[in-house]
Point group: C2
């Protein structure tokens, strides 16, 4: 049972928080941006210090590996991402990378014997903030996206509003091609050279904190549906069109959002659903909107509940406030259950360490979810203060970060021994 270095972990957190520092406690670190490169350079610098071998693949995913005593056995990977959302926090993704670094640094520092090669990995573009979709690289490598199409992806139109990126309207492929960490396709994560993947991540919710636990032993990633819902009205002049003649798409959308809230609240207490994005055309204060589109994201472990969500969407009236309503499924995901053997090693490690813990599921999508389609995979959660994430208030205490790294390290060593 091995411990990690609090001081070394603190130094990594402080250093990484500088890269993309938005000036008020959080970071904006888009994938493949200058800020992202600073974080990757830091990763390379520290991994070289412990003698790790650095490789990168054609999606600019990065692998830092220390050899085991039986280097021909398939290796063990600890991975997460270092990109962030706009005005994100200092822990989402990057903490998983720092914990993997801390685990390798501990192994090197204490010369912990291990048979398998052990790798700390960075996934490119997990957030998809600038170039949708999220979890792009793990999707490309482990799942069924077509890289050639992904490369053509443009910035999210919403991002055009962000002055900082207005001047670089390039595709993901162009960004990738001019990135110094773009490497060889043969270096991709694959089930021949690697036998398992662990990902430590912040919970991004309030459950562990509310229960007073420091570690979440993750068992699954919740199933979800993502819909686009549109209201079609008629653009007319705001000052000259009597109310009775109007077809106001924004008013129709407001009614639809409220009706969805009323219906979905009846389905299950632990269902989560979000209307996070809204687009309005022409979006001018003197013109009645003729088209409004908004997103609906809903997540739950039980497919029956997700079916109920789809039913509620389908049950929206064909017309609200004289506007035609239509809905379209954007994407769906079935609940992904993690590898029972690996979940067991995590539970074993946290029990040995004696940290307060619980089984938990992940409402958020992670690269681990796609990786699990390719090889045995599991996750470890640490608490998020007040449950906040994807914002600058995001916080996990140093003690909790170190406990997480220790659980990761010992779970990996448990697997190594068996």
């Amino acid at each position: 049972m091995y411990k990690c270095s609090k001081q070394r972990m603190e130094d990594k957190i402080k250093t990484m928080s500088k890269y993309g520092d938005a000036g008020h406690g959080g970071v904006t670190r888009y994938t493949l941006s200058q800020e992202d490169l600073q974080a990757r350079d830091e990763f390379v610098k520290r991994m070289k210090v412990i003698g790790a071998e650095i490789k990168t693949d054609d999606m600019a995913n990065m692998y830092a590996t220390i050899k085991g005593s039986s280097p021909n056995l398939p290796g063990i990977v600890m991975a997460s991402h270092c990109d962030s959302v706009r005005n994100g926090g200092n822990y989402d993704g990057i903490l998983g990378v720092m914990s993997a670094m801390e685990a390798l640094e501990t192994i090197a520092d204490e010369k912990i014997p291990h048979k398998h090669n052990i790798t700390a990995m960075i996934w490119t573009n997990e957030e998809g903030s600038l170039y949708p979709p999220a979890m792009m690289s793990s999707g490309v490598i482990c799942y069924d996206y077509l890289p050639e199409n992904i490369r053509k992806n443009f910035k999210h139109e919403n991002m055009l509003l962000s002055k900082s990126v207005l001047d670089k309207t390039v595709t993901f492929g162009e960004m990738l091609d001019k990135n110094k960490y773009k490497g060889d396709k043969k270096n991709r994560l694959n089930p021949k050279e690697y036998s398992a993947m662990f990902e430590l991540h912040i919970e991004q919710g309030p459950i562990l904190e509310a229960a007073g636990n420091d570690i979440g032993v993750v068992t699954c990633v919740l199933g979800m549906v993502n819909y686009r819902i549109r209201a079609f009205g008629q653009s007319d002049h705001a000052g000259t069109t009597p109310m009775k003649y109007r077809k106001d798409a924004l008013y129709a959308a407001a009614l639809a959002i409220q009706q969805l809230h009323n219906e979905l609240d009846k389905l299950a207490p632990d269902l989560v659903y979000t209307t996070g994005e809204i687009l309005c055309h022409p979006n001018v204060h003197t013109v009645i909107p003729d088209m409004v589109e908004f997103s609906l994201d809903a997540r739950h472990e039980d497919p029956k509940v997700i079916e109920g969500v789809v039913k509620a969407i389908k049950n929206l009236p064909e017309e609200l406030a004289k506007c035609r309503i239509e809905s379209e499924v954007a994407w769906t995901r079935d609940t992904v259950y993690f590898n029972k053997k690996l979940v067991g090693y995590v539970q074993e490690a946290v029990d040995e360490l004696g940290y307060k813990n619980q089984k938990i599921n992940s409402g958020a999508g992670h690269d681990a979810q796609f990786a699990s389609y390719m090889m045995p995979t599991t996750m470890i959660f640490v608490p998020s203060k007040d449950g906040h994430s994807h914002c600058e208030e995001e916080f996990t205490s140093l003690e909790q970060c170190v406990k997480g790294a220790e659980v990761l390290l010992n779970a990996v060593l448990n697997l190594d021994r068996n």
Copy 2:
């Protein structure tokens, strides 16, 4: 009592509709754009044919004048604009310009005697689509804006979403400086050289059509208020935040919009109000919105009703769905009554011509409203099919357009005689 040329009017409508043709029946003709310049060139070409003298001022407003028999008397102006909203129609603004041209062409063609100089005028940037505010030039020249500040105005942020203008993020002043029609400040419309202004415009509403009238004798421009209403929530992860912990600013905004509809519908049957613009931050489908702002535009002749609107906004709860609600007045305008004498000349002309007509007020703002602060001013409306405007369905029949031009011509001649 003089008539205009249907064939000549039809030719103007067909020609002007080509400049900015968006390919599906309407135009996108932003002020000072290439398309706008094409329309202005057409104006110059046709006005030179009838021997009009062309002048432009420092806001690129254009004046085509034919001399009267007493050229030292203050002249009479017929004015409107040739810029459009995005995907606008073929009549808003440009019909007023074409009617002024038609009136001058008729006077020249039939050698109609007149004492006063008579001017056809184009106002720059009435729509403010690309460079807010609307009615910029008349505001600068007749009202109380500061031109130097106006020049610094950037594109409406919303316009950044329009790929076509992404490459030219310049200020209005820069656009103006490189425009060949920018002229001398001394040529501005002024109450010494000019005695009155008439503006013909489409109604942009369904009232004339519903009453079967061809002409609206406009008596006033409705008073209005324009508010920005904001909801402040908390950004958290869409998949990991239980519903009871959420502060969803978009849901709060949807509730606020519905509450406003419920309250404002009680105030007056002819009150018009619009929530035409909505901005959501960060506007990502996987993030709970932390800030949503929307516009509220309300218009009515009676200040008591407008007071009721303000009261309803102030009465919004301080908190909706655990989100703080705040409102801020963007701008207001009192009802503007047009010059009774000029309104009389318009009524006289339409009665002589025997066209079906009614008194009507204008819910839309027009340059005439600012001009009326400087000199006697009035307006003439023609019907809008199905009341549609600020959209490509905008339509007024050729017969109605010609009738409008004839009322404009004869009203101007009535004033000339008195």
